[in-house]
Amino acid sequence: MVTSSILVLFLLGLTAAAVLAAASKVLHVEEDPRIAEVEGCFPGANCGGCGYPGCNAAAGAIVKGEAAPEICVAGGPEIAENIASIMGLEATFKEPKVANNICTGGSRANLLFDYEGVEDCRAEALLYGGEKSCGLGCLGLGSCVKVCGFDAIRLNEEGVPVVDMNACVSCGKCAEVCPTGAIRVSGMTMDLLHLNKIDDCLAPCMQKCPAQIDVRTYINQMKNGDMRGALLTMKERNPLPLAVGRLCPAPCETICRRNIADDGVAIHTLHRFVADWEMNSGNRVNLNCNPPSGHKVAIIGGGPAGLSAAYFLRRIGHEPVIFEKREEIGGMMKGIIPEYRLPSKVVDWEVQTILDLGVEVQNGVEFGKDITFETLERDGYEAVFIATGAWKVPALELENADAEGVMDAVTFLEEVGKSINDLKGKKVVVIGDTNTAMDVVRSGARLGCDVTSLVGCIQRKMSANKNEVKRASELGSELLFLTKPSRFIAENGKVTGVEYIEVQYKDPKKALGEPLPVEGTEQTIDADLIVIATDRVPDMTPFMNAEGEIPFKLNKKTGGIDCDKTSMQTSVPSVFVGGELHTGRSIIIQAVADGRMAARGIHHFITDGAIPEPVNPQLRVIPESILKNMDVTYTIPRINVPEITVEERRSTFKEEVKGSIVYEAARKEGSRCLRCGLTCYDAEAGAEYAQDSDVQKFSELGKE
C-alpha cells in the first residue's frame, strides 16, 4: 500500500506538473518587457489616482501608448522622466495638483444635518441619499482621512480636515468619498482661473467682490499669523493688493453680515494691512509659475486690467507681452491717481512683482501706429487682450468750452506736480460728480486754491463714493449740489468764470431720472481754471480701420467694446477686452477681475481652441445668503484707522491720508469676521477677545 500510495502521489504530482508546464507553454501570454520596467519606476502606491486599477495596468497603458509617461499621480517629474526615457519619449510638464478642503465649518455645519444617530457623512449619504440643507458643509468625522493611503489628511482640533500639501498625491480618493464636496482636488491653473459657482460655499463678501477674493480665508490666515498664506490667498484673485487695498471702495464691506449685528468688518483695511506686510518686509513672497508653454499673448495697455491678465497668464504658464503707449506701466495708477491716495513707490513695487514673474513689457508702443492686430498675429501672438482704459474726458458743449483755462481732469491730474505746482489765490471750478472730480477737488485744495465743485445731483446719487466726497469736503472745498454749468465766461480767449443753473428732480423726494434746470436760477462764479470731470470714456480711434470702422461689436451703454461676460472674448475670436475699455469708468477691482476672466478665456482659447461656458456661474448675489437676523454673541468695535490731520494734508502730496495699523489691531479686527459660508457663520466670532473692556456680549447690552 505504501508503494501504491507513493506511486499515485508521484504520478499525480507529475501529471499536475506536466499539465501546468504544458499549459504555461501553450497559454503563455507574451508581455512587453517594458511593462515591468515602467512598473518598476512607479512608487508602487497602487492608489488608482491615474484612473487605472493599479500600477501594472497603468504601466501597460503607457507601453500601449494609451497613457502619457507623466500619468502617475504619486510620482513626481523625476519618475515621469525615467518612464519617458524607457519609452523613448519626452516627459511634458504636468502641473501638480493637491486636495484642499474648502469648508471651515466644522461642528457648526453639523447642526445643519439631520443624522438620526449616524455619525459620518458617508453613512448619512448611504442611508438617506445625502439630502441635506447644506450641500457643502464638512462634518469633520473624517471619511477622507480613512480613505487616504498617503497619510496626507488629518483632522485638526476643530474636526476639519487639513491636507498636507507635500504628502498629497492628488489621487482623488478623498474627494470621491466626500458626499458634500467639501474636499476638492485642483491644481494651480484650476485654482487661479476658477470662477465662483452658485454651488460653491460663498460668503456674501466673496459674492459681492468683482474679483471674487476669498475674504474669510485671508482674514483667518492673517488672524492666525500666517501672513504669507493670507497674501497668497489674496493673490489667487488679485495681483494688485497694494493698489486695491488703497483705492477700492470695498463693496464687500457693505454686504458684510456683521452689518446686521453691529458694523461691517473693515475688510479693505485688512486687505491693505496684509499687502503692506509684504512691502514693508522688503522681501517678495515667492509666487509659483508654470514653465513657459510657448503660447504668446499680446496685452495692449499696462493698466490694472492688463497687468492682471499678464499676471494670471504668466502664472499658468503662458508668455504675455505688455505693449504700453506711455513710458511707465501702471495705467492711471501711475501719475494720475494722486500720490496721497496711491504713492508711486507702492505702484512700482506692485508692478515689479508682476514683472518679476517673467512678464515682458514694451514701452512707448502705440496700438494702431506701431502695432496692429495683423502685425501681432504675424509675430506669433495667438491672442490679444486689449485694456487701454477710459482716458478721454468728453468735452462739454458749452460756450467758450475751448477757452484757455478749461482743461479735462485727466490732464489736470497728470500735470499736478509737473506744470501745475502752485494754485495759491486762484479760483478753480470742478465740474462733475465722479471720483476723478473729487481727486481734482482734493488736489486743487492741497495746492492752495479756492475750489468750488458743481455737482449735478444730490450727494446720494453721486458716482463718487462717499468716502471720497467726505475727504474733498474736509479740505474746505465747496460742493454745490444740484447745479449745472450753462456757459463758460471768457475774456480774450481766457476763462474768467462759469455761469451755472440750479437743477431739480421731477420728484425731489424720489430723486429719480435726470434733474432738470430750474428757470431763473442762473448764477455766476469767478474761475481762473475750470476742470471738467464729468466722465471718462474709452478712446476708440486706435481700433478704427482705414474706413473709420471699428471691427468689434460695441457696447451701447458704456461706449466701449462689447464682449462675452465671462470669457471677455470680443466679436473677433482671438481678441479679448477688459477694464474700462469694456466697462467704461469703473473701479480698480473690476479691472483686476476682468483681467483674470480674460486670462481664463485666453487660456482655453489658445490651448483648447474653445472656451467652456462656466457651469452655474455666480453672477449676482445669491438671495439665500442674505440673512435678515443674526445670532452673534460678541460685539467688538470696528477698527479706527489713523489718518493725518486736515492741516497736514494741505501741505503735502507725498503722505497718504490713511495710515497703517499694527498687527494686534488687525488681529482684533479680523476676529470680528464671522467666517461666513453660504448660509452658516461663526456666531462665537471674537470670543478670544471676550475679556477686553470694549468687547461686550449682545445679550448683556440691554441690561446696562
Binding site: 500500500m1 501504491s4 500510495s5 499515485v8 502521489l9 499525480l12 504530482g13 499536475a16 506538473a17 499539465v19 501546468l20 499549459a23 504555461s24 501553450v26 497559454l27 503563455h28 501570454v29 486599477p53 495596468a57 444617530g117 449616524v118 455619525e119 459620518d120 458617508r122 453613512a123 448611504l126 442611508l127 471619511s143 480613512k146
Partner: protein
C-alpha cells in the same frame, strides 16, 4: 425534488461558512466591500465546480480502487492548487477581461478550505457525480450569499458609532456569529 432540497439545504441549512465554518479566512478577509465580495463569491463558485468535477472521478476511480482514501486530503489539495494555477493561466490567455476582474481572488482560492471542504464532503456523503456538482454549485452560492450579506453590513459598520476596541475584525466576527445563529434557524426546514 431531491436535487432541489439538496440545493436549498447546501445554501441555507448547511451553509458552508455560517453553519459548517469552512472558509472563514476569506470570509473575513474579503468582506470589507460588496464589490470585492461579489468577485470572490463568483470565483469560489467557479473553482468549486471545477474542483468537484476533477476530484470526484479521481476519488472514485483511483483512490478507492487502490485503497488509498487516506491520501484524500493531500491529493485534493494538490489537485485544487494545480487547478487554480491552470485556470489562472487559461483565463489570462483566453479571457483577459475576466482574468483582470477576478484579479487577486483566483490565487486566494488556492488556500480556501471551503473548496477543499466541498470536495471532501461530496465523497463522505457518497453523492453521485451529478449530485456532487449540484452540491458544489449550491455551496458556492451559499458562500457568495454569506459574503455579500456580511460585506454590506461591514460597509455600514465602518461608519457606524462602534466602540473603538470593537472596530474592524472584532465587530465583524461578532456579526458573523450573529449571522451564524440566524442561519441555524433554517435547521429543521428540511427533514
Amino acid at each position: 425534488m431531491e436535487y432541489f432540497l439538496l440545493f436549498i439545504s447546501a445554501i441555507f441549512i448547511n451553509n458552508i461558512v455560517l453553519v459548517q465554518y469552512l472558509g472563514a479566512c476569506p470570509f473575513m478577509g474579503t468582506s470589507k466591500s460588496t464589490d470585492v465580495a461579489l468577485g470572490m463569491g463568483g470565483a469560489v463558485i467557479f473553482v468549486t465546480l471545477m474542483a468537484t468535477a476533477i476530484t470526484w472521478p479521481l476519488h472514485q476511480f483511483i483512490l478507492i480502487p487502490y485503497g488509498i482514501e487516506y491520501l484524500q486530503t493531500i491529493v485534493f489539495i494538490l489537485v485544487i492548487a494545480s487547478l487554480v494555477q491552470f485556470v489562472e493561466m487559461f483565463l489570462k490567455k483566453v479571457i483577459p477581461p475576466l482574468y483582470k476582474s477576478l484579479g487577486l481572488f483566483l490565487p486566494l482560492i488556492t488556500t480556501n478550505c471551503a473548496v477543499l471542504g466541498v470536495a471532501i464532503m461530496v465523497q463522505r456523503n457518497e453523492y453521485s457525480f451529478l449530485k456532487s456538482m449540484m452540491y458544489g454549485l449550491a455551496s458556492g452560492i451559499g458562500f457568495l450569499i454569506a459574503l455579500v450579506i456580511i460585506s454590506s453590513i461591514r460597509e455600514r459598520l465602518d461608519v457606524a458609532p462602534v466602540p473603538h476596541v470593537f472596530r474592524g475584525v472584532p465587530i465583524a466576527l461578532i456579526t458573523a456569529g450573529v449571522m451564524s445563529l440566524i442561519f441555524f434557524a433554517f435547521k429543521g426546514m428540511v427533514a
